[in-house]
Subunit: 501 residues, 2 copies
């Protein structure tokens, strides 16, 4: 059994086939990762930060070779992949900075008080790494959400070890990235087995059920994610499975914005919906807009260009969904863009439907179509849109386009969108995700398996940590984060108040 | 169909039977809770705090009546129930204080920066309430972990609404408590339907599967918790199910402590293991100790007194487990305590087993026996104990008794215990849980369904919150927690740094 890479531009095999990982080997790697975690979790935050920085530097140092392989295997193009690799290494550096700042451990100290009910002894709480993390890499970001993407970076930063299930859409990119990461970890003195990669569907199934694996991160389809989620939950000892699955990313264009900035909105929309051939989790696939702007949106889509999609199955599935919509009596085809001669090309497409028809067929018309297509739902009165928004499936993002004069409507839209979305954008587009503390990349099912967590941004690290409370321990036996004189100089919550105390 | 309360001291019915809640009524209460949440989540934190304080005051005002009913139905005794009710009202006040302090919303603000890859727009993140929460109340704390216990208090504080599945072991206590809470909420002007109670097993099954219910909290048995957990996860849209299930709470008595403080340790142990007739999740059911202290532990258990257990099934199950252990060739019966003449009395019991035998039968001998019994595992060398500790099932607590001279051994024990436990106690006992930010009441499965969360203590509120990020929004449309001039004066993380800015 092997995994074979392909060139989406030609549809031909790319690179040598890689052997799928046997159950025995998965087990061996998990055990090695378990041992490595025990050592790694004892490293200081500063020491782990140095290793993350080193991994970032070594990836940057081999960027030309990595980007060339990724471009051959994903057809995402050198400019995009250059930015994406830089984003990936900056993501590692961001977590290194978070480790150095140190307050991510959420240290809390409460003084004893015997005069209250119940009496309180000295209690001190700090976050500790969970153990071995299974990372299921995504197809659509071969660097930033893959082998050493946000799940891996945040897990290593947390003090966990990682076994990555490589995505079948870019096995050579995975292999080459893995080689650089493993060498850099070794150069930095990290314990053997801290990071490894497995290949093949069965290896992922084994991984999520392995006793030493304590949590999993996943970015991919609803079907694949649900199957692994169910496996994680049906273990004798269930583990958290943090999946980012599917999202329709509704956008509401308010009337004045549509009237006053039609070309700007149409251009922004077309660029966002075709970015990466529409293979973004945050692709704006559903637009509520006055019918007056539909022609302008259509023109922008007509002028847009698609490209080779990530793999044959994704391309087939996209084309089939577009065909089904084109044949449907429910929606109208507004425009299609052009497509290059690539083997697995996806062509941009825009459909429209009146609000009443959409509402009556909501479930059918809100299935995510992964690729450069969108559906415009035309409305006359924004008051009619509001009650529909909260009926949409959970989504990563929700967007509003408004003129200042209609800000009260924008606020009303936001009030509805925040019931179903993790990130709200005002006069922008949802594609493109900042690396920041304040980033939320998550949302109610099926956007993610748990809306309280994020898979991108600093707080993603909290998926891999769990609190431990020390009660009445001698100061010298406490972890430094909890010792009286705060040797690490971190911000802590002491008797309920945050400060460097 | 009805739910009937019983008096555990007599085994006779207590109070009138309460009707079980029909599916139709569960649905109605869920829908009402959903509407109530939409209103309540728009209240200011200060306004919610005032209502929580009012509920606490009204419960205190009716304490005599509530305690009388609870004592008749649980046999836990007036002194314990008096303390427990006060703990429950102080828990409500603690969350009111948390709301007033305000930083629990984890507000984060990151400034725009277009000079980095990826470029960062203005992003601002705040926690928002999830919606309707299903609370499955516990049998063993008829106030503190029941109708208006830690799950309900933290969920209401978060801005969620609550539907409580009342426990069948104390329906009249539930009913009376619910009556006081509902009246107080109404007096405080809270929206109708914010809080309600349902009765009967089927109502809980319906509740955890209802579309508007967004998360559940549970304290109870592994079997019951697992069944509901599986239902929550098998929904078309799975919801987080935060269960606190079962715990053996290992204690390690180090040699010098055993030699120098045998009577003190034995007295503390007997008090802890028989507290509440052993019906504590944190009951120290497994003690690793030198054989020299076993006689002293046995004497303390001989002098101890059991009492009526919470219900007939719990009593039967406890007695049967004690009988099985007594008949077992693996362990020796060291001592039994006395038992009063109550109908459903549980008698304290202490068993012992050598470390080697324990290790060889670890799975069988680590099943939680809910009641006032414990197993002493005798060892000669603490080095032999260390590798056994991390093989124990996940547990809420782990305890060490040590003299200062053996602190390095205590640290080594803690290093193992923290792999399996959420709270580590030094020279104390695990029963009795402080209400504090720094409290962790959780641990790896089967202690809880998710070790990253706690069901007691301030951070329990995070189970009911999810982040939403606002990207490039006009300041005046942002929630006050995120506005530039920080009108609430709360501590926020701004460009990665915590402060009142």
């Amino acid at each position: 059994m092997t995994v074979q890479g392909y060139n989406p531009r030609t549809g031909q095999p790319y690179g040598d086939p890689l052997p799928v990982t046997s159950d025995t080997e998965v087990d061996r790697l998990c055990e090695a990762a378990h041992s490595a975690h025990l050592a790694w979790s004892g490293w200081t935050a500063e020491a782990r930060a140095r290793v993350l920085d080193l991994v970032a530097d070594r990836l940057d140092g081999e960027s030309d070779a990595l980007i060339a392989v990724a471009d051959a295997e994903t057809a995402l193009g050198v400019p995009r992949l250059t930015t994406e690799l830089k984003r990936t290494t900056n993501q590692l550096r961001m977590f290194a900075d978070v480790l150095r700042e140190g307050s991510y451990v959420d240290a809390m100290i409460d003084s004893p008080n015997t005069d209250i009910i119940p009496p309180r002894p000295d209690v001190r709480r700090v976050l500790r790494p969970l153990g071995v993390i299974a990372v299921f890499s995504a197809s659509n970001f071969p660097f930033a959400l893959s082998t050493v993407g946000s799940d891996t970076a945040s897990a290593l930063a947390a003090g966990c070890s990682v076994v990555v299930k490589g995505h079948s859409a870019h096995p050579n990119t995975t292999h080459e990235t893995g080689r650089v990461v493993t060498a850099a970890l070794s150069e930095g003195g990290a314990p053997d087995g801290l990071f490894s990669v497995v290949y093949g569907t069965q290896s992922g199934i084994r991984l999520v059920q392995h006793p030493v694996v304590k949590a999993a991160g996943f970015t991919g389809s609803i079907g694949g994610g649900r199957a692994l989620y169910d496996l994680a939950n049906s273990r004798p000892d269930p583990i958290p499975f943090y999946g980012e699955l599917g999202s329709v990313n509704p956008t509401v264009v308010l009337p004045a914005a549509a009237a006053e900035r039609p070309s700007e909105i149409a251009a922004g929309f077309a660029q966002s919906v075709t970015m990466g051939v529409g293979q973004f989790c945050t692709n704006p696939g559903l637009v509520f807009a006055p019918s007056s702007i539909v022609d302008e949106l259509g023109k922008a889509v007509t002028d847009s260009t698609g490209g080779a999609m990530l793999n044959e199955r994704m391309c087939d599935s996209y084309r089939s969904a577009v065909d089904t919509l084109s044949d449907s009596d429910l929606v109208s085809l507004v425009a299609t863009g052009s497509a290059p001669g690539d083997a697995w090309a996806g062509k941009p497409a825009l459909f429209s439907v009146p609000l009443e028809t959409f509402e009556a067929n909501l479930e059918k018309l809100t299935e995510e179509n992964f690729g450069p297509s969108a559906l415009v739902v035309t409305y006359s009165d924004v008051a009619d849109v509001l009650p529909v928004l909260s009926r949409l499936p959970g989504t990563l993002t929700g967007t509003v386009h408004a003129q200042p004069s209609e800000n009260s409507d924008a606020a009303a839209v936001a009030d509805e969108l925040r019931k179903i979305a993790g990130r709200l954008i005002y006069n922008g587009w949802p594609t493109g995700i900042a690396l920041a503390w304040a980033m939320q990349h998550g949302g109610p099912w099926p956007a993610t398996t748990n809306a309280s967590h994020t898979s991108i941004g600093v707080p993603g690290i909290y998926r891999w940590l769990a609190p431990v409370t020390y009660q009445t321990w001698p100061d010298e036996l406490l972890p430094p984060e909890l010792q009286n004189d705060n040797p690490l100089g971190i911000t802590r919550r002491r008797d309920g108040v945050l400060g460097k105390h």
